[in-house]
Symmetry: C3
Subunit: 310 residues, 3 copies
């Protein structure tokens, strides 16, 4: 099972920035392409006050800062140059994280989606949408938010596909800033199945792809969870991708590149249950030969040896 897609983590939530300019991004798309990545997913077009593109709406109505560069234009142009699909993530106001209320995300993105399509819809590389709210379990309002935003994305863009990437509320589902690596009150496989059956049922008409993050459960539990994820997606008619995280959740430094052996285990679990595509969070920090973390370049080499032997 090869990784053929990656998130691009701009604007970042908890991964330090690399301060790359256009030249570094161009080189990184070339590195991605060299190992078979055909899809990049911009994880969000803005987070709280920081945004990836000069948005009149977000600057004037949401008090966002005028960005020093238009990263969306850059990424979409690089997508055209390298023949890669670019999926654009929505705006994350941070208010959901602070209050647990999804309404603000719906209200703000109503304008953002229109603006994004108007400003970037002409790029041939613009091939999909990422609904960037990260949820798990029966987050209050999640079904309505995904349904509503997915619907609008598809309507403005002549039906471009929509993607979500939720997390499993497993034992490693702890905040990056917390002083721990695991928690006691993890979801059970049965609860996970029950709750996500309900969620997928509610969003299936406007969400096309679900790519669960694969890093929150034990490695020995992963096949079971991926299997349930695949069955649920099949039942409700969604495509099943796996979001194969390339950073290590088991280390005190949060986060550095994952050990190759763990990445391989997770990819093989995904292959075993028949996942349709593997994407990763994310190539540029954790798998790129030019990452600020040299472990990433070694992971790139180990991964390359692995896929060449497949």
């Amino acid at each position: 099972m090869k990784i053929t897609g990656t998130f691009i983590d701009e604007i970042s939530h908890d991964i330090p920035h690399q301060n790359w300019g256009a030249a570094e991004w161009d080189a990184d798309f070339a590195h991605m392409k060299s190992i078979g990545i055909d899809t990049v997913i911009v994880i969000r077009c803005g987070y709280r006050q920081f945004i990836t593109y000069p948005s009149p709406y977000l600057i004037q109505q949401q008090q966002c800062f005028t960005p020093p560069a238009d990263l969306l234009t850059l990424f979409l142009q690089l997508g055209e140059k390298y023949g890669m699909q670019v999926w654009i993530g929505l705006y994350d106001s941070g208010k959901y994280w602070d209050t647990g209320n999804m309404q603000h995300e719906i209200d703000a993105n109503r304008f953002v989606i229109d603006e994004l399509w108007k400003q970037y819809g002409h790029f041939k590389s613009f091939k999909g949408w990422y609904l960037s709210m990260e949820i798990s379990r029966r987050t209050k309002g999640a079904i309505e938010a995904f349904y509503t935003l997915g619907k609008q994305c598809k309507e403005v863009s002549n039906g471009l596909p929509t993607l979500i990437s939720p997390w499993i509320d497993g034992k490693k589902a702890v905040m990056a800033t917390s002083g721990t690596l695991t928690k006691e009150n993890a979801v059970s496989l049965k609860e996970h199945e029950t709750e996500w059956n309900e969620i997928l049922d509610g969003i299936k008409s406007t969400v096309d792809v679900v790519a669960f993050q694969d890093g929150h459960v034990g490695f020995e539990q992963l096949v079971d969870y991926l299997s349930v994820n695949k069955q649920l997606a099949d039942k409700h008619g969604l495509s099943s991708w796996t979001n194969c995280e390339s950073f290590d959740r088991d280390m005190p430094i949060k986060f550095l590149p994952i050990k190759f052996e763990k990445l391989r285990l997770k990819l093989e679990a995904a292959r075993k249950v028949g996942m349709e595509k593997a994407i990763t969070f994310e190539f540029s920090h954790f798998m790129s030969p030019q990452s600020a973390y040299p472990q990433a370049g070694h992971l790139f080499n180990r991964y390359n040896e692995y896929i060449q032997a497949l």
Copy 2:
């Protein structure tokens, strides 16, 4: 607004050491010079048992370890070589951090100041003093400590200028080793103004420059705080510099280089309120092309592009 000064973080409190020798420090002064830095500020000449110069007083009276190198001589010589000012920071015994009592800092530095001037006063690059106690709000004894130490520094050195760099007790004012990034009980703008009016009034006769750290308040609050800082300094006759932090306070890894966009926002806020000079904490880890953090080299490039377009 260009950065024309930087701290040098030896001896470090919470930033891991780079283990540079004389050759790396020489190269770093050249890098600093290349972007217009004319002032380096040694953040402290010693911290608890570790010291930057062979100090008979600190080794014999304060049980400090004999250092493997005389960094003050090295930095002062490099200052002369590159035509840069060197400001020397005082000794931090750590006892203030442990007990909240400033008296020990006053007692120990009485001897350290004399010794520093005797050993290093002949260097033409020795151009100022840094009172290295980092305080905020009405820290018990802070006024007396700053006043007393500033007075002695100026008296022994024929009036060389003195600098302090306090922190604003804002929402990001948390310990580096804590598991959080923000706190609830931040100071209000009004409290900040009232308290610092009192402090600056008490120290104005022996402290010449105040350079508040700019990383403890929200980016959207910064112009307001900088504006108050500038007005208070003007009122009491001090020079206003900004300490534009080049590390990122919003990430779980404490600390890596800041995102360029944030640095730019902070510099533009400082320009807006008329700050007289911008210094940074600090170039060698967070902005240098030879930093152990490659993100720093990219920040150097982004910053260079920025100032060349000014």
Copy 3:
């Protein structure tokens, strides 16, 4: 006092992996050799589900994952190539960490020791055993575990030497994932002596070398603790090595390379009390010129200058 041995931290507990392949390991053994390292100690042959060699027992009986490479063969071959001794660490099931009960370590390693000797005993570079349980004070069952496992190691291997590397329960003995750097309830020097006198007495017939970790007490306390460690080992007929940690326990990022000055202080303390050998945890992350942490390469240079001036 020169460092002539190093741990190899595969499988890692809390240090992020570098994702090296055979070429990088070969280069690292050459780097080690260049500064006089003659002994490498594989810290454990497995940890929980991850293992360093294809072990039928651990895969079939302990549900471990089949590893992507046989690191033990690699390390033993490199030991032969470079004329270095390789000491092999036992299996750490993790159950002792979770439950405080040593019995599982004894039960599992009974099989692992036999398997290791059968698979790797023919390598001329296989020169010793490392009993990888890290304990301190009178850990319940520690004496029996060390005695039993040491006995078996020696019996199967015609008396190859056995090594332990316990920690002193000092003020810096905190978990890597905790949000603190120090604790209040540190052991006293007298308690340390009393308790370790009892432990060493109980294990002396099957453990040949004790190498206490040197990073858990204050630098000013170190000579006292090392001195007690040396006296106790002498009394019970064990060899005394020091495990001179090359990572920094005083920084919020857990962990990056240590400041050279601290390493030097610790080596000189070890020399002062007459330690017979210094090993380090560990070269490849914290002292190697090819480490992902560039501070390690600078530490390598500083250390090299130091030993060349001895």
